[in-house]
């Protein structure tokens, strides 16, 4: 069966790309100026070590290197990391030596996943109908207005929209809280902000895709068979115009996860994006590598899901 083979092939690609991501990230860390870990920071976190002699410091560093597995050559470090990664064991981070990274991830991942899924759902269920309406009412004010807002939404970054929304809803109207992630009310603004960009892109793309399909010969054929507008649009135009939409959802997912990084920081949402930014600003390399790994994995798996939907929409895929 073609579909199973197709999925297996995609899974293999994901596997290879993930390994590539880890290797590249690791090598980048390694060639970073300064040491793999920052002595000053280490000293700061250890607090009292300032008074130690160079010999004692050496001993401490050795212990540190052992704890984080840095006492072996780079290729071996990478190999060890990969081995651990597939058992979902990532060891401790620099900034939080007492808590294994997988525990931190497990706590924060659901938050980001919820944010991402809610946003993508919102983007799709609003973006697609918006594009359809704009296409069917083309060159009317409905079309112009929705496309103007889509243009704004697709180029103004999520965080800017976030700021504008905070000004409107928190500063002036005082209806929504500016931060947090406990109550549904706190989730409204982050979800909308993350969703707006992809929503706008989807709407614009949906519009042009549907217009393109409506100009196809087979639509004329359907009308010539006596189809009503409704029947022709629903049975022939929509499904065909959704196929190219699915192809842009992949890049939009990447875009969306980027959005979560900003929005989690803007609205102080305790998710992976925030963890990632903290890791970067504190040069916490184990945490940085791992959060990159997890975020990439999420995007790729969601992409796979999208590709499976694609194969169901377009029968030509299964037979190739």
């Amino acid at each position: 069966m073609g579909l199973v083979k197709y999925i297996l092939r995609r899974l293999f690609t994901i596997f290879v790309s993930l390994i590539a991501v880890i290797i590249i990230t690791y090598i980048l860390m390694w060639i970073a100026p300064g040491e793999f870990f920052n002595i000053a920071q280490f000293q700061a976190s250890a607090g009292k070590v300032a008074t130690l002699t160079p010999e004692q410091l050496q001993v401490l560093i050795k212990g540190f290197e052992e704890k984080y597995g840095l006492n072996v050559p780079l290729w071996k470090q990478i190999l060890n990391y990969l081995k651990d990664a597939f058992r979902f064991k990532f060891g401790p981070s620099f900034s939080n030596p007492n808590e294994p990274i997988e525990v931190q991830i497990a706590r924060r991942f659901p938050v980001t996943l919820t944010l991402a899924i809610l946003s993508m759902t919102l983007a799709v269920i609003v973006g697609i109908p918006l594009g359809i309406i704009a296409a069917l009412k083309r060159n009317t004010w409905i079309d112009y207005i929705s496309m103007f807002f889509s243009m704004i939404g697709s180029i103004i970054p999520a965080y800017t929209i976030g700021v504008i929304m905070v000004i409107i809803f928190s500063v002036y109207l005082r209806v929504l809280p500016t931060s947090g992630w406990e109550t549904p009310k706190q989730m409204i603004m982050p979800v909308i902000c993350v969703a707006l960009g992809p929503m706008a892109v989807i709407a614009r793309f949906m519009r042009s895709s549907l217009l393109d399909v409506l100009n196809q010969d087979y639509i004329r054929t359907a009308y010539s068979k006596g189809g009503t507008d409704r029947a022709v649009i629903i049975r022939h135009a929509l499904r065909n115009s959704l196929i190219p939409i699915v192809t842009i959802i992949g890049p939009q997912l990447a875009f969306l996860f980027t959005g979560t990084v900003w929005i989690e920081n803007l609205f102080r949402v305790p998710g992976l994006g925030q963890l990632f930014v903290n890791a970067a600003s504190m040069r916490d390399y184990p945490l940085l590598v791992t959060s990159t790994f997890i975020l990439s994995l999420s995007v790729m798996l969601m992409n796979l899901l999208v590709d499976i939907i694609y194969a169901f929409l377009d029968p030509r895929i299964k037979y190739e």
Binding site: S17, M29, A32, P33, I155, I167, T258, N265, V277, R283
Partner: protein, 290 residues
């Protein structure tokens, strides 16, 4: 430019025809004028800005817009207008600079894949596909963390992660052009490959590349601000729209002017580039002339 075009009127060149189509798009023309103005302003920023970007006025912190400080001051009493000008300058530098990096990498990878074909093509395009659907912002952050937070390193980081679209575009065009009938015709006439590339392939690739770059510039600006927002952009006190917005957020309740001005100039700049990109796309699209 105008004068030169008028002289050539009888012999309407390909590019002047495109310019004629571009001129019809009013939003694109407005966008282009705006961009030309901000480029000129950016070149002369040190002479135009009323104050240095990092000069604090402790007696004038959090001031609302006034005759002295046109767009008000921030938490350290620094002139918001001057800081905005410098932020714009940095944004343009990174926007244009990153696209140069994108152009170099994208054209090299795309043309190798397109011209060589076969296995080389398959491998390069697999990598490109992964880059295309990868949250490259993560790599941006890592690169900046690793290489430091200078203007140049940010520009390189944005370019190094943003070439996938360009590579795909160039590859697609090379694949099409190398077997296009008019290229085969040139080959049949006995022209050397260099001549074919110079006179037949490159001129036909230029239009789509320009359009892609026009859309890439706002994207670069956008990523730079995104980096700055999470503290990964240019080092303070050097201003960036991102860090100005990030800093202003904390005082948004009391002093919204600290956020509103950077957000507006930022949004306007992105809009202008996008309208120009749209205009270029329509003007250079070979389909629009048939």
């Amino acid at each position: 430019m105008e004068v030169a075009l008028k002289q050539q009127k009888r012999r309407a060149s390909y590019w002047s025809a495109a310019w004629g189509r571009f001129k019809k798009n009013k939003m694109a023309v407005v966008g282009l004028i705006y961009i030309i103005i901000i480029i000129i302003v950016s070149i002369f920023t040190p002479w135009i800005a009323p104050y240095p970007y990092d000069e604090p006025h402790y007696a004038h912190t959090f001031e609302k817009p006034s005759a002295k400080f046109w767009w008000g001051t921030d938490d350290l009493g620094r002139c918001m207008f001057s800081r905005n000008l410098y932020a714009m300058r940095n944004a343009l530098l990174i926007g244009f600079g990153s696209q140069i990096v994108v152009l170099i990498i994208g054209v090299i990878i795309g043309s190798i894949a397109g011209f060589r074909g076969g296995r080389v093509d398959t491998i390069l395009m697999r990598i490109t596909d992964i880059m295309y659907a990868f949250p490259t912002f993560l790599f941006n952050v890592i690169l900046v963390t690793v290489m430091g937070r200078g203007l140049f390193t940010i520009l390189v980081a944005v370019g190094v992660t943003g070439w996938a679209g360009m590579a795909r575009l160039v590859r697609g065009m090379v694949m099409y052009l190398k077997h296009a009938d008019f290229v085969e015709a040139a080959r049949a006439l006995g022209s050397k490959e260099g001549y074919i590339i110079r006179k037949y392939i490159l001129p036909n690739m230029l239009g789509p590349i320009i359009v892609s770059l026009a859309f890439g510039i706002p994207n670069g600006i956008w990523i730079e601000s995104g980096l700055a927002l999470i503290g990964m952009g240019v080092r303070p006190p050097m201003p960036s729209w991102g860090n100005m917005i990030g800093a202003g957020i904390g005082y948004i309740m009391a002093f919204p002017h600290m956020v509103i001005f950077p957000v507006l100039t930022f949004a306007l700049t992105l809009l202008a580039f996008t309208y120009v990109g749209d205009g270029l796309r329509d003007a250079l699209n070979p389909r629009s002339e048939v």
